[in-house]
C-alpha cells in the first residue's frame, strides 16, 4: 500500500515539474499566434480561437527580423567556431603541460576570467573599439564573443583531453605524424563528444548574449535578435503578440541545439565546468 502511494506521488510530482517547465513556452507560443484583439481581451483565452501568423509577418516584413536573425547566426557561428578552434589548442596544451606550477597558473588565469561577468567589461570594450572606430561592427562583436567563450571552452577541453592517454599520441609521433597532425588525426576524433559539447555551449551562450551587443551595436542593420527585442520593449506600439513572436524566434535555435546536443551538454556541464 505504502509503495503504491509513493508511486502515485512520484508520478504526480513528475507531472507537476513537467507542467511548470512547459507552461511558459506554451504561453509565449500561444500569444504569438493570437491577434491583438484576442491578446487584449477578457476573459483570457487559453487557446488561440482564430490562430494567425500576422505577428510573424510583422516581424519579418515590417520589422527587419530576417536581418537580425542573420546577424545573430553570423556572430554565433563565427564566435563559437573561433572559440572552439582556439581553445582546442589551449585546452590540449594545458592538459599536456608537465610543469605543475605553470599549469596551475594557467588554469587559475582561465578560472579568473570565467569569474568576471561579461557585462563587467562592456564599457572598456566599448571605448577600446570606439578609439579605433570599430564599434557598431559585427566582426568586433564576434571577436568579443570568441573571447567570452575561450576560458570556459579551454577548461572543458582540458578535462576531455585529460582522459585521452598520452601513449596514443606518442605512437602517432613514432609513425611520423607532425604535432598538428597528432591533434587533427588522433586527438580530435577521440575528443569529438567534448568538442560537440563545447560548440553547443558556446553557440547557446553567444546566441543569448544581450548586454555586450547592446553596448557595441548601434545601427538598426547590425542588431542581433536580443538587441532587437530590447529595442522592442522601449518602443511604444509594439504589441505583446509581436514581442512574443520575436521571443519564439529567439528561443527556437537554442531549443533545437539543446534537443540535438542534450547528451553532450549534460556531459559538459557535469564535467567540472564552472559557469552554468
Amino acid at each position: 500500500m505504502k509503495k503504491i502511494i509513493f508511486k502515485v506521488l512520484k508520478v504526480v510530482l513528475l507531472a507537476l515539474f513537467l507542467i511548470a517547465a512547459i507552461v511558459p513556452l506554451y504561453w509565449v507560443i500561444v500569444t504569438s499566434l493570437k491577434g491583438n484583439k484576442e491578446i487584449y481581451s477578457y476573459p483570457i483565452k487559453y487557446f488561440p480561437e482564430s490562430p494567425t501568423l500576422e505577428n510573424y509577418v510583422y516581424l519579418f516584413e515590417v520589422s527587419n527580423f530576417g536581418v537580425y536573425f542573420r546577424n545573430s547566426a553570423l556572430v554565433a557561428l563565427v564566435g563559437s567556431m573561433g572559440a572552439l578552434l582556439i581553445s582546442t589548442f589551449s585546452g590540449y596544451a594545458i592538459s599536456r603541460l608537465r610543469k605543475k606550477r605553470t599549469k596551475l597558473l594557467l588554469i587559475l588565469a582561465m578560472y579568473f576570467t570565467q569569474m568576471i561577468p561579461t557585462y563587467m567589461v562592456m564599457v572598456p570594450l566599448f571605448t577600446m573599439f570606439a578609439s579605433i572606430g570599430k564599434t557598431d561592427n559585427l566582426l568586433s562583436l564576434s571577436l568579443v564573443y570568441i573571447n567570452m567563450m575561450i576560458a570556459f571552452s579551454t577548461i572543458m577541453g582540458k578535462s576531455f583531453f585529460d582522459r585521452i592517454p598520452v601513449a596514443l599520441e606518442e605512437a602517432a609521433m613514432i609513425d611520423g605524424c607532425t604535432p598538428v597532425q597528432v591533434i587533427s588525426k588522433v586527438i580530435i576524433p577521440l575528443a569529438l563528444p567534448g568538442i560537440s559539447a563545447i560548440f553547443s555551449f558556446s553557440f547557446i551562450n553567444i546566441w543569448n548574449e544581450l548586454f555586450l551587443a547592446v553596448m557595441l551595436l548601434s545601427s538598426e542593420s547590425k542588431m542581433t535578435i536580443p538587441v532587437a527585442l530590447n529595442s522592442f520593449i522601449s518602443k511604444a506600439g509594439i504589441s505583446w503578440g509581436v514581442l512574443s513572436a520575436g521571443i519564439v524566434v529567439a528561443l527556437l535555435p537554442t531549443i533545437i541545439v539543446f534537443a540535438f546536443a542534450q547528451r553532450y551538454i549534460i556531459m559538459g556541464l557535469t564535467e567540472g565546468a564552472v559557469k552554468e
Binding site: F17, I116, V123, E276
Partner: protein, 294 residues
C-alpha cells in the same frame, strides 16, 4: 623539450585574446571607476578620486544598503529553492522509467534559454491586466482581484525570484542527477531490504555520497546568481522604487540608462571585490584546490 615549447605556442592565441578583451579591459574599467566619465559629458573626463563610490553609497534614489540587502535576498532565496526543487526532480528521475529521455529534454530545456527572453515571457505571464497567472489564481479563487506582481513593491522581489527559481531548477537537477550515479546501487538495495525508511536512505546514504557535488555546485552558483541581471533587467529593471535592484542591475542601469560610465565602473569594482573575497572563501571551504586545478 622541444615538444614542451611547442605546447606553449598552442596557448598564444587564447592568451592574446584574454589579454586584449578581458585583462586589459578590467584594468581600464578599474581606472574609469576613479574618473568622472559620462557619455553626455565626454569633453570633461577627469580623475575625481573616490567621488563615484561616495555617490553610490549616498545615492538618495537608490539606497545602497537596500541594493545590498536585495542582492542577498535574490541570491539566497533563489538558491535555496533552485537547489531543493532541483534535488527533488533529480531524485524523481533517478530510477529509469519509460520516456525518461524525452522527459528530461522537456524539463531541462529552460537551461538553454536566454535569461532575457525568459524574463520577457514571465513579465507577460505576470502582467497585472492580461496575465495568465492572475487569471489562473482568480479562477482558483486564491485571489480576489488582480495583483501587480511586478509593479507592486510588495510582490516584485518574490516574483522575480520565482522566475529565477524556474530557470535554475534544471541546472541543479542535471548536476545532482549525474552525481547520483555514483551512489552504489547495491548499498541502496541492501538498505531497502533491511527496512531503512526512504528518509533514512536519503540522509545516511544518498546525501553523504553526493555531498561534494552539493557543496561545490551551490557555492559556485552563488557567484553565478549574483552576476545574473537579465531576468530583473527584462521584468522590473530594478524597480518599483528600487525594490528589485541588485548590484548587477544597478551597474547596468548606470551604464545603459544613465550613461554614467564612472559610477558604473565603480559598481563593477565593488562587485569584483565581493567576487574575489568569495572566491577565496570558496577555495578554502572546498579545500579541493589541488584536485580541481591539478
Amino acid at each position: 623539450m622541444q615538444r614542451e615549447n611547442g605546447k606553449y605556442l598552442y596557448l598564444i592565441p587564447a592568451l592574446v585574446f584574454l589579454g586584449i578583451f578581458t585583462y586589459f579591459p578590467i584594468v581600464r574599467g578599474t581606472i574609469f571607476a576613479f574618473q568622472d566619465y559620462k557619455l553626455y559629458n565626454m569633453s570633461n573626463i577627469r580623475f575625481n578620486g573616490l567621488e563615484n563610490f561616495k555617490a553610490i553609497f549616498t545615492d538618495p534614489n537608490f539606497s545602497f544598503v537596500q541594493i545590498i540587502f536585495n542582492t542577498a535576498i535574490w541570491i539566497f532565496v533563489s538558491l535555496f529553492f533552485q537547489f531543493m526543487l532541483g534535488f527533488v526532480l533529480a531524485l524523481l528521475m533517478w530510477k529509469p522509467f519509460k520516456g525518461r529521455g524525452i522527459y528530461s529534454g522537456l524539463v531541462f530545456y529552460p537551461w538553454a534559454l536566454s535569461g532575457f527572453a525568459i524574463g520577457l515571457i514571465w513579465a507577460w505571464m505576470f502582467n497585472g491586466q492580461f496575465g495568465l497567472i492572475n487569471d489562473v489564481l482568480l479562477k482558483l479563487h486564491l485571489i480576489e482581484s488582480n495583483i501587480g506582481f511586478l509593479s507592486d513593491p510588495k510582490f516584485a522581489m518574490i516574483s522575480v525570484i520565482i522566475i529565477n527559481v524556474w530557470y535554475g531548477i534544471p541546472f541543479f537537477a542535471i548536476m545532482i542527477l549525474a552525481a547520483l550515479q555514483s551512489v552504489p546501487k547495491e548499498l541502496m538495495d541492501a538498505a531497502e531490504i533491511d527496512g531503512a525508511s526512504p528518509w533514512k536512505r536519503l540522509f545516511s546514504i544518498i546525501i553523504p555520497y553526493i555531498q561534494p557535488t552539493i557543496v561545490s555546485t551551490t557555492l559556485l552558483r552563488v557567484m553565478w546568481i549574483m552576476n545574473f541581471p537579465e531576468i530583473i533587467y527584462a521584468t522590473t529593471g530594478g524597480g518599483p522604487s528600487n525594490a528589485t535592484n541588485i548590484l548587477s542591475t544597478q551597474m547596468i542601469n548606470k551604464i545603459l540608462k544613465f550613461y554614467d560610465y564612472g559610477q558604473g565602473s565603480a559598481l563593477g569594482v565593488i562587485i569584483m571585490v565581493i567576487l574575489f573575497t568569495y572566491a577565496i572563501f570558496y577555495l578554502r571551504l572546498t579545500s579541493q584546490g589541488e584536485e580541481n586545478f591539478g
